[in-house]
Symmetry: C2
Subunit: 99 residues, 2 copies
């Protein structure tokens, strides 16, 4: 199933509405690195993001090293080789709302 | 606090005793990629690893993309620039025991 890729204008508008996210992968993804007090706090955050992701059926590409969590959002079904879609923006907004 | 780095002999013996782990970072880490049915199953595994990690006060460097979990174990306080220690082997064994 193909998903609509955001236009450059839509992308810029979405980014302006988000907190701390930056374009990555030539504009085909957004990325943010979150830092916490310790692993426990980072893991609590990840658990909440996992719940959001499963509810939205849209999952992050992410990594964790102790108190840092690096999240990349992209939509594999958008564009020819994956791109940014409204799904990424919706998940990013929900993640922002956790903090 | 400095932690003893495994000798090459100790490293080889430890690896032979583990399931599916390979040396990474010029022998200063061990790494394994785990694949699951879906995100839910991958997340369940990660949650169990997080509990082990916190109990052992030794945390993985890891990433997750949908149903895959890539775990790297290394000890920042072992050797000059981080290396493999008994802590990594102990955590890897506990992870193996989950599966």
């Amino acid at each position: 199933m193909s998903v609509a890729q955001l236009t450059k204008t839509e992308r810029d508008a979405a980014l302006a509405d988000l907190s701390g996210w930056a374009l990555a992968r030539d504009g085909d993804a957004i990325q943010q690195k979150f830092k916490f007090k310790d692993f426990s706090e980072a893991w609590g955050f990840m658990s909440r993001v996992a719940l959001l992701a499963d509810a939205q059926d849209h999952h992050p590409e992410w990594s964790n090293v102790y108190n840092t969590v690096d999240i990349t959002l992209t939509t594999h079904d958008a564009g020819a080789n994956g791109g940014l879609s409204q799904r990424d923006v919706t998940l990013a907004k929900a993640i922002d709302a956790l903090l």
